[in-house]
Symmetry: D2
Subunit: 159 residues, 4 copies
């Protein structure tokens, strides 16, 4: 989406625009192969197909713990930003970029439940503490069979 | 280091062999460009040169939070394993691989202190809770100017 | 329950005995006024009636954050121990006391969602990572109206 | 300190007034027996003498994990507030109470390193992430012999 920076967005357009930034304009997200799945403003979902580059221990053929942390931080950040923009009136792309540039992860906890085995990994998130300046988000990682691989909890600065 | 699996290692050889596994046989570690710096059995250090693929927000030109989490998890895991093997008598490579294969991160917290700006990132770790089955490790990330970027705390299953 | 130390317990008796230790033989649990509610071996529940001694900020009349942390650590520890003993065959009280004495909290995260207002607080827990040596438990705190006050996650050494 | 609510405080007076609120006007802090030790605006310290009421496991005679969490949350909150007020110009007591009433713990991690044995427990804190709205604080608990019992990390809403 290459739109003039004074284009005004609101509601669902805003959500899709944010998803597009995450999915297509973050080099590290592309390096890993994460794909944003737009699900509305109340839910965030990212899919990550297995590739050998994501392996930690090559004997076990499982995701490196850092991949799990990276996808959970990303889906948590996406959720926090969708939550923030859902409370805004319409904004221009220039304003959106300025405000998104100030958002950041404050802290994150990852709980590794089972080895990261699978063909496709699905990360989801929901906001558990809503605020105008800070949001707390819970994240989960499952594989394509529904096996629960990890939990995450992240605290994000959003305004 | 391609050695027969019945080669017996001890002490410093064991430490260097473990560093070699982390630095040269973990695909995700190579994808990011992490370099292990062997510092003895009591300290772990990993260096990561900047490259554009590691960017989150391309406007700010900073590390994606997932890169920070990945390098901190890796240096924490390396430290936990060095701590574990430092308490073992000599072992064969086959035994080492079997035992290392059972080690895993249980949980991890990352505190993001400052934006991940720099040319070279240095992650270090030390054990704060020593045990035969579980080790707790504190990790730090700095850039080449000594700016403190993040803290981590990880709990690792080691035996 | 004052039973001879060579009394052999199993199954539900064991669970009730552990609940009794937590509810009646831990001075700090009594100081706060926590009450164990036996719910079987798969679930832990503790109730805590409001009293003014538990206040942090007296202007707001809410629980001190340390009370929230204390009840969540307690219900998480109870859940971890119930999980551990549920996998044991029958044991004597002497053996149980020896093994319970070795159990401990390794780490815990608390997420404070809303102010701790209410007349009765209900803490519940479930195991999310089962192991023979380490268990990871998620905890929740609600008030008598169902308002969700806090989440917790704890990692416990159980064997 | 019973001062009229329009009294204007600044600098060290403000720090001592905040310490006084924590030490003398929070019922739960008094129930446990915590004593504030004013150390200037850059450091927070709380002392807690052993008493049997603080015990978890009575066989081991150690602090209940909830006591450790409570003192670390308290010293972290005190540090976060001292940090916040140190950046303010002079304020009236009424304004201070209004602003302090809005401060809260967002999340906290405790790492339990060694059993809580001792006669006197000393909790200290320092700010690791300074901000106008959120502060991140690291806390430590030692006993009178210098044994390191626990680490904490807390994220606090301060403005």
């Amino acid at each position: 989406m290459n739109l003039p920076s004074d284009t005004v967005l609101s509601g669902e357009q805003l959500g899709k625009f944010v998803s597009d930034i995450f999915g297509n304009h973050m080099p590290f997200v592309n390096l890993l192969g994460m794909e944003m799945v737009y699900q509305g403003m109340d839910k965030a979902e990212i899919r990550l197909p297995w590739k050998d580059d994501l392996m930690g221990n090559p004997i076990l053929k499982v995701l490196h713990g850092g991949v799990t942390a990276a996808i959970l931080d990303t889906v948590g950040g996406l959720m926090a930003i969708l939550h923030a923009v859902s409370t805004w009136p319409s904004v221009s792309i220039a304003q959106l970029q300025e405000r998104v540039g100030k958002m950041s992860t404050i802290d994150m906890r990852i709980d590794y439940l089972r080895p990261g085995k699978g063909e496709l990994f699905i990360a989801t998130a929901e906001v558990i503490r809503k605020g105008s300046r800070v949001a707390v988000v819970r994240m989960e990682l499952h594989n394509e069979k529904g096996t629960h691989i990890a939990f995450g909890t992240g605290t994000y600065m959003i305004g």
